[in-house]
Amino acid sequence: MSGAAISPGHVTSADALLEVRGAAKNFGAVCVLKNISLQIAAGEFLTLLGESGSGKTTLLRLIAGFEQPTSGEIWMGNERLDTLPPYKRRVNTVFQNYALFPHLSVRENVAYGLRVKSTPKGEIAGRVEEALRMVKMIGFADARPATLSGGQQQRIALARALINRPQLLLLDEPLSALDANLRKQMQSELKALQREIGIAFLFVTHDQDEAMALSDRIALLRNGALEQVASPREIYSRPATAYAAEFIGQTNLLRGEINNGMVRCGALQWKTSEAGGPALFSVRPEAIQLADIVDDTTGIVQFRGTIQQQIYSGASELLEIDCGENQVLRVRIPASGPLTGEREFVFSAADAVRVTESSDAHASPSKDHESQ
């Protein structure tokens, strides 16, 4: 890949803590990561989000040093990381199933990173206590990991990874083994902890809600390539690709044509300033409303449809609207009692976000899913 062109004296940009430059990884003939370039800023909470097999864990393992990139480089400050063994990298990892050492006590587990660096005994004791206090596990120093609950083991794994005071903490689906309630609680504690200690977190998850709740930025991975890197708000309101729009939240994908300043997607049409040709738009269900009387139709898309389904979910309900021409749109409205028959709907043309087809031809939405 193009990584070869980078000069050996390369330094990451001033505001980047870690920089991945054109990293690719093959396992035999299988390419799991393709030319990934990504920067992590100091103190940032960056989430690698993707389905299983998207390459998110592999990218994390490249940074931790458990795998070698097939091509490309990883830099931290003016130090090249990808040529260093894991024990020389100034990053630490929280493992998916915690990977606590079963033969060591909680205290010994947390002290491990200091012990192997021959830190003076007095300093170790103080820092272990500090780390245990930080994760609220001060009373468990002499327990064995096997006697702790999943959530407690999680906290010890965090304390152990933070004892070396890394500038970047890698977290590999750390909450996936916890039950739903504990998971929510740990999410907010994790976020609070990250703000408090102010170090960068690189967090791997397949759960888009978790990614939205925790991250400063989300890097969405798909089939080993970055689909979009943006803040949760931006990735939700301005998805770059059809895949990003569908993976994060629900959406309606409208496939159509732009001709002479007009967009035509089945029964829907609106004015646009964009260039002509085939186009794909994402409209979030909550952007569409039941129409009141509309006076000014500038920038408003109006259509008529039959309510096929109404799914009540407490604060809101989801309607499935048949607009004719095989076009079914999903609309989320505030809970408003049973609705039937034909209705008028509107959305702002500005809420129709033009997205690119997904880069990978195999997985692009097929005809059946069109304009759902």
Binding site: F66, P85, T93, F95, F101, P102, H103, V116, R144
Partner: protein, 281 residues
Amino acid sequence: MYSRAYKAAIAAPPLLWVSLFLLLPYALMFAHSFWIVRDGFLVHDWNLQNYRALFTTPLYLQVFLRTARIAASVTLCSLLLGYPLAYYLSFHAGPRKDLLYQLVIVPLWVSYLVRGYAWKTILGSDGVLNGLLQYLHVTREPVSFFLYSPFAVVLMLTHIYTPFVFLPIYAALEHIPRPLVEASQDLGADRRATFLRIILPLSIPGLIAGATFAFVLSLGDFLAPLLVGGPSATMIANIVQSLFGAAYDWPLGAAISVCILLITISLLFLTERLEKRWAFR
């Protein structure tokens, strides 16, 4: 729920087997050890004379100490060979792992006796080893201490018991979750520190099991000294064999056997406790 009769029927065969072929022989052996041979006849005359002879005859103590020394040497050598082998296979063999594993355990399917005779052929005065050394002009005359020495016994037993040591160690190493090794490196431990602080402690139960196999099996061995040991490497089981055979002193042989049995049982008991002490999952 199963009926009592059904449970009894299921339990009977193994109980019968154990009683007939284990408990009864042990009881007979135990009884014999308190009897005595007088004028060439076995007399059922209860006494402690055999045990007294055992502890007052220097020969028996001397042979027993030699046996323990040989068994300890075999244990040490098998560990020194078996542990690195198991470690390499478990952590570094990659795709060759399964093949190498089969190669290590294949000797287990070859008769003990065949392997004994093979060593005799290799170590003898006109054996393969001496032939090679003379051909290479390393030695002019055949080296005699290769065969019929404690060295030969240790060599042969090490060859035979290394797979027994390898297997439990390999199993223990295979059971170490690999993320533990990664976590250790992630926290700043190099390969050496990771081995000493994580891998070795977690493989101790396998190591103890392997060492126990090698020591206990060597302790009771009588074929290796018979085939390649010679008089200077006579082991305690050879004494027992001759007492039950040519010497026709079953009571004394039984007394020695009881002692060996007690030592073995206490060893097994002790190592089981040790293994439990080191087991964490």
